[in-house]
Symmetry: C2
Subunit: 365 residues, 2 copies
């Protein structure tokens, strides 16, 4: 497919330029670590590295609603690049929101500041499933366009594609917004397992398609965020979530790009999340990385896992706790350094820049 074939008529990435991106990023520390190959230094990126912790982000977002910003390709590209420029992280992550693909297929939703995504009409019955139609590249032209711009700028720095996992999307859709206890979601999961299975299967189709768009536009890896799945016990994860998450990973498997999977509070689920098809399993700060490696088993890289709250302590404490993470990671097959959860808006960006540099120094080979 050439740029001229792009159905939306917008900028896209040709096969030739996709090959160029693959070639440029192939030997990056980040992709090597994901592939469990020797690295020049431990690569670092931060979940939510693009966002409210950066004054330059607040400036470009001024007066623009979150969902609107996700559909403005130049803005997405700028926001995605900001932390790469500032912190010298080893990977960019596509700036988006978990609900963007749902919005793209016509679900009436909004992201309310201080609240999160709010769904106008929650999905609670079999009839509601009909509202979850397939996602096509034409639904998200801004994604293809933004990634085209990004890969041109990023050079050898890989771009990580991004999507929310079926369980987390289902929770937003069923609850109608963010939920602490996921009561309605679990009531459906426990009370009507077939409806639940059909719901997450639909969401797996949509999510797989959304990630494919990003990979075909030039993303060198993908991360599937299952933000809320730590609310489940392992047996429920296995029966009610794993098949749908595996379907997402299977959909993008043919591209051969590393697939990262992360959820907070998932200590009990790490092995199963690897089993779902992740090449790299993200670990929050509650489980030391050596213990996480035992749970995940061989053949997977790990990502993590400094407690984000450590960044609020003085520099010597940050270095000491970072050292603990690196020590626990010493025996891993592959390690991508990250926080154990997202960057928080009140974090000092300079502390993050220092952290990147400290990890690079400490792990230089």
């Amino acid at each position: 497919m050439s740029a001229n074939d792009s159905p939306s008529g917008q900028q896209t990435t040709t096969s030739a330029s996709l090959d160029a991106v693959r070639h440029a990023t192939h030997d990056s520390a980040f992709l090597k670590a994901c592939r469990r190959e020797p690295v020049p230094h431990t690569p670092v990126w931060f979940m939510r590295q693009a966002g409210r912790s950066l004054p330059e982000y607040l400036k470009v977002r001024e007066g623009i609603a979150m969902l609107d910003s996700c559909m403005m390709p130049e803005l997405v590209a700028e926001i995605t690049l900001q932390p790469v420029r500032r912190h010298k992280v080893d990977a960019a992550i596509y700036f988006s929101d978990i609900v963007v693909p749902l919005k793209a297929i016509g679900i009436d939703l909004d992201i309310k500041p201080g609240v999160g995504p709010v769904i106008a009409e929650p999905i609670r019955t079999r009839a509601d499933l009909a509202r979850l139609r397939d996602l096509t590249p034409e639904d998200v032209p801004y994604v293809t366009e933004a990634i085209g711009m990004l890969t041109a700028e990023l050079g050898s720095t890989p771009l990580i594609g991004f999507a929310g996992a079926p369980f987390t999307l289902a929770s937003y859709l069923v609850e109608g917004g963010p939920s602490r206890n996921h009561e309605r979601t679990k009531a459906m999961m426990y009370g009507d397992p077939q409806l639940w299975a059909d719901l997450v299967d639909r969401l797996a189709e949509i999510t797989g398609a959304f990630l494919k768009v990003q990979i075909e536009a030039g993303a060198s890896a993908v991360q599937l965020f299952d933000s809320w799945v730590g609310a489940l016990a392992p047996a429920d994860y296995r029966s009610a979530v794993l098949p749908a998450s595996a379907k997402v990973f299977d959909a993008v498997a043919p591209y051969g790009v590393p697939r990262i999977h992360f959820g907070v509070g998932t200590g009990e689920l790490l092995g199963l999340m690897g089993e779902a098809g992740a090449d790299v399993v993200g670990v929050d700060w509650r489980v030391p990385l050596d213990e996480a490696a035992r749970r995940v088993g061989p053949g997977k890289a790990l990502q993590g896992n400094l407690d984000p709250a450590v960044l609020y302590a003085p520099a010597p404490a940050v270095e000491r706790k970072t050292r603990e993470v690196l020590d626990a990671a010493a025996g891993l097959e592959g390690h991508v350094f990250n926080l154990g959860h997202g960057v928080m808006p009140t974090m000092d960006p300079d502390a993050l820049t220092r952290l990147v540099s400290y990890v690079h120094e400490q792990t230089a080979r």
Copy 2:
């Protein structure tokens, strides 16, 4: 000491009546399970069983602020008894709030509806520690009085005393209120370990004294709630929290009443929470009880662990998930059935009543 010796002049419990309480409750299923002795049926109680899920609670609390209600002995006794009457649970839990002992020693705080405890002047420096004075029985006459009334009514049903653990109290005090990420708390813990250690040691003294008042008034067991401690990795728990929690348990050890310890999201900490001195370790729903028993080791009973959200599903699903908990508990030395977290305000109380009866039926020996 006789009732007339009571320094506050209010009703208290004599040694003779304390012996009577011990005698009346000794062979209860709940205390037997805590002591890992054979039981006639698996005992059941629910965290937050006294509270907003019950219409009779909403009625008696009408127009009375939360903290005020905790200081009204007749009201505390009535609220504590309500779920025992309605659900036929095997134990009562003293109605209070985690911040009551802090209020009692003069910390300026309030419980704001929909928010939680708010501390007027947070504790953040060494000088602030001076505001954490010792707690004496005279600071909480309403506790002694309410428990005196309760034991008279409860007969053979044991009353569980209640306190918040040092880490959780410290988080409220340092943050100034509820916190999602405990940034300031952890910044102190990581950045000034000596100040932190002194803070939680002070809180351990206060908490130990508060539990002693409850036991001397007639509580047959105590539960130390460390609501937020699941935010810590095991190494941090061991160095920064375990010594303080152990000090609380040591303070009440001479009374020989079972000591229960619970925190949500503590899968990684279960062994250490037992090590701190718990006789019964509470488990949230994320870790199956048989796996929890492996982590805790021999010589401890376990409490838990039905996912509270299951109660929102239809009755057959509740029974199926309850059966799974009972099956996982089959090999335990001692098992107290509970939810894996507190009762939620929107729960149907009838579903809880049915659950008690179902567990009793299924486990009758």
